[in-house]
Symmetry: C2
């Protein structure tokens, strides 16, 4: 079945305050991420991966940091993208936020 119904598929607990649900094909993965431990005083540690990434802010507000670019205050409806290998991170500004991240190739480390 080519669907993930939110009410039918349990979250995977990533850590305290972060849960996710994943769909993927061979070269494309999309991850629904629900953060519930905001707001954060500091950003998460910057990280990078060879996978290209796009993200849609479905709820909440974050600061998005990408290498030497100016920080960006993003809210529900906004999007960001991360080229292969670029250091990036977010800081949660709201108690709760939902990000919908897509990756190509897929994040084998998430499976």
């Amino acid at each position: 079945m080519a669907v993930l119904k939110f009410d039918d598929v349990p979250f995977e607990q990533v850590r305290d305050g972060l849960q996710r649900k994943i769909i993927h094909l061979d070269q494309l993965m999309t991850v629904l991420l629900d953060f519930s431990d905001g707001p954060w005083e500091k950003p998460e540690p910057p990280h990078a991966h060879p996978h290209e990434q796009t993200s849609y802010i479905a709820a909440g507000e974050v600061i998005f940091y990408c290498e030497d670019e100016p920080e960006q205050h993003l809210k529900a409806g906004d999007m960001f993208f991360v080229p292969s290998g670029k250091q990036h991170c977010i800081r949660l500004l709201t108690p709760y936020a939902r990000l919908v991240d897509s990756f190509s190739p897929i994040r084998e480390d998430f499976l």
Copy 2:
């Protein structure tokens, strides 16, 4: 700048009742699609493309059809995916809906 702020970037009009905003990298594209001409009596015509697709229902409700699979009633928070080459389409059940579609490789025909 690696962001698309919803309030700063105008929609592209696809047709009456359908607008989109696009971000993309080399192998990954994400398209915010706002439909405003629902509900539809019938589904759109089925279509297929070699690109893999994932979709997040950000608002509204749709029926999702994918080849010979049973039709799926999806609502905000649900996701679907379309393997390369599979015939698929949706039917809008609500006046308004927002889908966030991702594709790999990118839809050159959208640029």
